[in-house]
């Protein structure tokens, strides 16, 4: 096995990983990035177009924005974190200018806060390379390694091209592996299987906000796209009757009414009411969205087409690895978390951070974790003792090896989290049924999963999907109220006594407990 040493190891290849690499390198660290895909095309940013949360550094404007976001967070946000990410985003997003062709703002200046995914990730990769980061594409991490005191000292994984194993020893490790979309088909999310969540939990880290991991985007039934064209859509059933769908502004109610209609039969969108300016400029804004239609011979502004909802899981939801301090530490020595792999509960609370807040979080938490990891690495040279591998499920089964039907396990986990009837109207009955199915699947893969070669990556990804779904369902059972994205049909009202975060974790035994912090008392 090849062993590489570095100061900071970053696991992931999306925007948070790139910003972490840039910040760590700027702080003087040697930086190694290992990614399951390829930095530049990996993850949901590369096919998207993040419009970062963007407020000028005017105290009055910032106060208004933070007050609005705090209200939206429904008692669970932290205004101090919101202020930090507004500040970091404002100062750092413009620094991509040497590599990103900012467009016009229409008034003689540059339009900065909204960036197109492929160009943004191309720029961030070039930026990270210019700062000296060493990027290894198609090098998925399979597990973390630790010293005898439990401090994370690196990771092991596979170079996919030739199926060889690697080990990295680092002074500090940043998990920027993205959220979990449970293989919903959401564009860009195939590799987002919660790998970092599982690796963090195996090291002893906790998660937060996992119950708020229900979010969806509307797309044509044959492929997930960006959603720009559809916000003004009319909806019809198969017989051509117009459906009474609550408008997008109603948030959860919009998805509930769409979900109910889709459970009853196929739903068709009609874009006849789309903004008049849109057809002429759509392909200049989102070329990939236009392609999804014209390659089917469909005029999306004239022809009705079938639609469905694609789950966004913890990506547009808020749950993830809990960060315990201002440096994005996970609570496990040597281990940091950033971007969608980390909780967004601090800045989004019980509601989706949408593209804007979550992107500002990804940039900011990436920079914070990268810089803090670089500082940490100054005090911790790469470990040269005997390292302990921490991976369990899918790598080191407790019992006899059996063949695992990974596709079936992933489908069941996706159903537990994303099935319309289970997600839009949660209840103890269906949550308990989901928990039971996931429990069986977890013990199957943890007890009997083992394979070799490239298939190891899919087996580990499957373990991560099942583990992440278990934490989602466990947290949803524990929150016996409705708040933000989490709607319980058996507890449809908000309960002020439950205005606290839920922390979850555990592998063979999943646990959930409430957290009360000073910051939260202030927010409430």
């Amino acid at each position: 096995m090849s062993v590489i040493t570095t100061d900071v190891l970053i696991i992931g290849g999306g925007m948070a990983a790139a910003w972490a690499a840039i910040a760590a390198a700027e702080a003087g660290a040697r930086v190694l990035v290992v990614d399951k895909g390829a930095m530049g095309t990996s993850g949901v940013t590369a096919t998207g177009g993040p419009g970062h949360w963007w407020v000028p550094p005017d105290p009055a404007q910032r106060d208004v924005a933070i007050a609005r976001q705090t209200a939206k967070a429904a008692g669970l946000g932290d205004p101090a974190w919101m202020e930090r990410i507004l500040d970091l985003t404002w100062r750092h997003l413009p620094t991509i200018a040497p590599w990103y062709p900012f467009g016009s703002d229409g008034q003689g200046g540059r339009f900065v806060n909204g960036v197109r995914g492929p160009e943004y990730m191309r720029a961030l990769r070039a930026f990270a390379v210019a700062r000296g980061a060493d990027i290894r594409d198609h090098h998925p991490a399979l597990e973390l390694i630790a010293d005898h005191a439990g401090r994370v000292v690196g990771a092991r994984g596979m170079a996919l091209r030739d199926e060889t194993s690697w080990e990295v020893r680092a002074g500090a490790v940043v998990l920027a592996t993205g959220g979990a979309a449970f293989r919903s088909g959401l564009i860009g999310s195939h590799a987002c299987t919660g790998d970092g969540h599982l690796m963090a939990a195996e090291a002893g880290a906790h998660l937060s906000g996992m119950e708020f991991s229900i979010s969806y985007s509307l797309s044509p039934a044959w492929a997930s796209t960006r959603t720009l064209p559809y916000t003004g859509a009319r909806f019809y059933d198969a017989a051509g009757n117009e459906l009474d769908i609550a408008p997008p502004r109603t948030g959860h109610r919009h998805y509930q009414t769409l979900g109910a209609a889709m459970l009853a039969g196929p739903v068709y969108a009609d874009l006849i009411d789309a903004p008049r300016e849109l057809p002429a400029v759509l392909r200049r804004i989102q070329p990939l969205t236009a392609a999804a239609f014209e390659r089917r011979g469909i005029d999306l502004f004239r022809d009705r087409f079938p639609v469905r909802l694609f789950g966004e899981g913890t990506i547009r939801g808020t749950g993830g690895i809990d960060v315990i301090d201002d440096d994005c530490r996970t609570g496990v020595s040597g281990l940091f978390a950033a971007g969608d792999a980390a909780t967004r509960e601090l800045v989004a609370g019980a509601n989706s951070g949408g593209g804007a807040v979550n992107s500002a979080w990804a940039l900011s938490s990436g920079r914070i974790a990268g810089a803090a990891a670089a500082a940490e690495a100054r005090d911790h040279r790469p470990f040269d003792g005997t390292a302990i591998p921490l991976g369990r499920a899918g790598l080191r089964p407790g019992g006899a090896v059996r063949t695992i039907d990974t596709a079936a396990l992933i489908a069941r986990a996706g159903h537990a989290v994303h099935a319309y009837d289970r997600a839009f109207w949660r209840s103890e009955t269906t949550l308990a049924a989901s928990a039971c199915a996931l429990e069986n699947d977890w013990h199957l893969i943890a007890g009997h999963g083992h394979t070799s070669g490239r298939a190891k990556v899919e087996l580990r990804s499957t373990a991560a999907v099942v583990a992440t779904a278990r934490w989602v369902i466990a947290a949803a059972r524990e929150r016996r109220e409705s708040r933000g994205l989490h709607y319980r049909e058996d507890a449809p009202a908000i309960d002020t006594a439950q205005a606290r975060r839920l922390i979850t974790g555990g592998l063979d035994h999943v646990w959930v407990r409430p957290l009360t912090t000073q910051a939260q008392d202030v927010a409430a």
Binding site: G13, T41, F111, D137, T227, T231, P248, A274, E277, R284
Partner: protein
């Protein structure tokens, strides 16, 4: 899913091999090989990376079916994403000058849906 690698156009620059997040392509002696077609996620980013317009991704996430290459060329669909994205132009050619309209147009759609819903439920 990935449908065509047009041998006559490919210069074996291997940009697609490097770009694909799902390892669909393997390097080859004369040109890359579509080695794991079923791993394709339909993200279109290989097409964007291909300066020779030698790739075509079919629009369905569960099908490689596509018309023959000459029909697609005649329909102007080969290389369309790269051209629309402005990746054949100099980086400062203003290809993102309309990008600021994304948010306002998205919100305009939301307003349209809201007004229509209110009108429907007013009477």
């Amino acid at each position: 899913m990935i449908a065509h690698l047009i041998a006559q156009r490919c210069t074996n620059c291997a940009a697609c091999v490097a770009a694909c997040p799902a390892l669909v392509f393997d390097p080859g002696a004369e040109r890359p090989v579509i080695a794991r077609a079923d791993a394709c996620e339909t993200c279109y980013l290989c097409e964007l990376a291909c300066a020779e317009d030698a790739l075509y991704v079919a629009p369905e996430t569960d099908s490689h079916d596509a018309p023959p290459v000459h029909d697609l060329i005649a329909a102007g669909l080969i290389g369309r994403i790269r051209a629309d994205s402005g990746w054949n132009d100099p980086i400062d050619a203003g290809q993102l000058d309309d990008y600021r309209l994304l948010g306002p147009l998205l919100n305009a759609g939301v307003e349209i849906a809201t007004r229509r819903h209110e009108a429907r439920h007013a009477g």
